[in-house]
Symmetry: C2
Subunit: 159 residues, 2 copies
């Protein structure tokens, strides 16, 4: 993944949280994803296809997931139920959708979002992919964004 391709995702997650959820994100240091467990128990995951293929993961602490869902749905969400799952999937969808509009050279489409739950889950990428991981803090707690995006075909990869 080329480092500059993370920028549309950084803008889209910040815009999604600010405009949809009224929540400012403070960004931490951008790192390559290491092969260790994710830190948080709820992940919105969405696949990307086109002239590049990849995955966007929005990994949320439970507090961020519940507060974000409560804000989106305008109702109190006290546990990770179907409504919260749908809200997290929709946030992943919005982040991926806004970023793909900026990455028009790849003509990207997004898959159905899935939401992975489980205290110790980890979402691993193929070893030849180099996903980028970006931690954030917000008023509800911590979250992180992970993006792996690999161009299809060498002429695009090294253009």
């Amino acid at each position: 993944m080329r480092a500059e391709h993370i920028n549309p995702f950084l803008r889209s997650i910040a815009n999604t949280f600010e405009t949809m959820l009224g929540c400012d994100l403070q960004r931490g240091e951008i790192v390559l994803k290491k092969q260790k467990n994710l830190q948080f128990p709820i992940s919105g995951v969405i696949g990307l296809t086109g002239k590049a293929v990849g995955t966007v993961v929005i990994n949320l602490s439970e507090a961020v997931a519940l507060n974000a869902a409560s804000t989106m749905l305008m109702m109190e969400c006290g546990e990770v139920d179907e409504d919260v799952i749908d809200a997290v999937g929709e946030i992943a969808n919005m982040v991926a959708g806004a970023a793909k509009a900026e990455l028009e050279e790849f003509d990207l489409s997004v898959s159905l979002p899935n939401v992975v739950t489980g205290e110790k889950h980890d979402i691993k990428f193929p070893s030849n992919a180099t996903p980028i991981c970006v931690p954030f803090q917000c008023k509800w707690g911590p979250l992180q964004l992970e993006v792996g995006l690999e161009t299809v075909g060498a002429s695009v990869a090294h253009a």
Copy 2:
């Protein structure tokens, strides 16, 4: 998801295990996925986009993942390391790739495969999707296939 769309995936997982891994699958009863934890700790996940969007999940017991990887890589895999992760992702990729060739009316593309690990992980679909879950047994142990595929646009959905 229309029930008949599961058939290409049933054929492709059986063919992949038989031809790539020399392993016959015995199919259990096809059910709608319930909102409960998956049974097995390793999932190969791949997104589908096109005139339908969806996700294919190959959920494997550790014994199936290790034996399948050992067979593919022609070396003994004793723990779930990077090689096993790549092998599980490649199996998901082959299953999705062969099925999409049969579902040409949807003009599907596949995303980068991911592999989710964690004893109690669950991969949830949006509440308006109705993923189909199919358990299998093989000589190495149990596994299951989950597929959610939703057509894009009513004219396709109800054609």
